[in-house]
């Protein structure tokens, strides 16, 4: 299949599908995390946290796949109409998004690994995910919990900016930046 990989002008199906799949799960993870720690029912809260951990690991798997694919597939060049400032900052913003995608699941994994609650992790009840080899303590748990919290809020702020930029391209600048992330056929020079 030709349109699976990126070319110099368009995104291929693999990047497009992974982008939207990860995009939905990532934003869903933020919403789930936000809700689960504010749920008054301890039972619902417990179940939602387990679900958040399951999706977190699903996300980690998808993101590793995405990064591996991306390393062999350069991103298409931006349309000629895009200005110099954005030409410089967009790759940095995208790099930062990749950093958050890796740091969030890893900080979450570290958090459950050092937690003195010692709650096991079974993604979707399928298998036991081992903990990271980190020493458990209340102090380490507070640290990773805070780290995860800051990463989640900083990450979602950057995603908001990212979405705003995409919408700006589509509705104000009317270029192909958004549509080429929807279908390879719209990626024309």
């Amino acid at each position: 299949m030709q349109s699976l990989t990126n070319t110099s002008a368009r995104y291929g199906w693999a990047m497009i599908i992974l982008h939207w799949l990860i995009g939905i799960v990532f934003i869903g993870q933020f919403a789930l995390g936000f809700v689960m720690v504010r749920t008054t029912s301890q039972r619902a809260s417990f179940e939602l946290i387990q679900l958040h951990k399951s999706f977190g690991f699903l996300l980690l798997g998808l993101i590793i796949l995405r990064i591996a694919w991306r390393l062999r597939n350069a991103a298409p060049a931006l349309p000629a109409s895009v200005g110099t400032l954005e030409r410089r900052t967009a790759p940095l913003a995208h790099f930062a998004l990749y950093v958050f995608q890796i740091a969030l699941p890893l900080s979450g994994w570290a958090l459950v690994s050092v937690s003195t609650l010692e709650i096991p992790t079974m993604p979707f009840d399928l298998f036991v995910m081992p903990n990271l080899p980190l020493a458990e303590s209340d102090a380490a748990e507070s640290f990773w919990s805070a780290a995860h919290w800051y990463l989640a809020y900083a990450g979602i702020a950057l995603v908001a900016l990212h979405i705003a930029a995409a919408l700006r391209h589509h509705f104000l600048l009317r270029d192909s930046v958004l549509t080429r992330m929807i279908t390879p056929s719209s990626g024309r020079e």
Binding site: S41, Q42, R43, F46, E47, Q50, T116, L117, E118, I119, P120, M122, D125, V128, P130
Partner: protein, 191 residues
């Protein structure tokens, strides 16, 4: 010396076995009140990936009545206050007391009422009864072993497995096993 200690232990064992057997009925018969100070109610729940977590109930009360002449007509009543659960981890205790597990605010008592006692050996018996927790009642079985009788004090070691899902406490399965392993020492004082 090792040989001498072994010899003594064997001698003590020979004395102890018939002693407990002999104790069984006539001497043990009577009513006992479970004394919290000499008793403990501990439990373990296995965890996925190995290990488990242990806890204990700090407050409970009950009576043991051993029938003179017919063990089968003996009776055990036990009331546990789930509010008193302790695992050594405050956040887990709060979780267990909450409506996720015991709902201790609305269901302050867990009750066991024996329905039959069957002797299974010199010093052992199978105690069947009805366990009530969170408004649900099911038959359960426990194994009781007579640990000793001294003065007016009797001691039993009681073990048994309970499926927590039946009592609306299935939260956390399969991360945490559905089987709760009970290990109790019940010390009764005559009267």
């Amino acid at each position: 010396m090792n040989a001498r200690i072994l010899g003594l232990a064997a001698f003590a064992a020979c004395l102890a076995v018939p002693a407990i057997a002999a104790v069984a009925l006539s001497d043990a018969a009577g009513s006992y009140t479970i004394s919290p100070s000499g008793s403990s109610i501990r439990f373990t729940i296995g965890k996925a990936g190995g290990g488990g977590f242990d806890g204990a109930f700090g407050r409970f009360k009950g009576t043991i009545r051993i029938d003179n002449g017919d063990v089968g007509r003996s009776k055990v009543d036990l009331t546990i206050y789930p509010e008193s659960v302790g695992t050594g981890q405050g956040r887990i205790d709060a979780f267990l007391r909450s409506d996720a597990v015991f709902d201790a605010a609305n269901n302050p008592e867990i009750q066991f009422r024996s329905t039959s006692v069957t002797r299974t050996g010199d010093a052992t018996a199978l105690v069947t009864g009805r366990l009530t927790a969170r408004g649900k009642t099911f038959p359960e079985k426990f194994t009781a072993e007579l640990g000793g009788l001294k003065g007016g004090t009797i001691r039993f070691h009681v073990t048994g497995k309970v499926l927590r899902s039946r009592y609306g406490m299935d939260v956390g399965t399969p991360l945490y096993s559905n089987i709760v392993d009970f290990d109790m020492t019940l010390m009764g004082k005559r009267g």
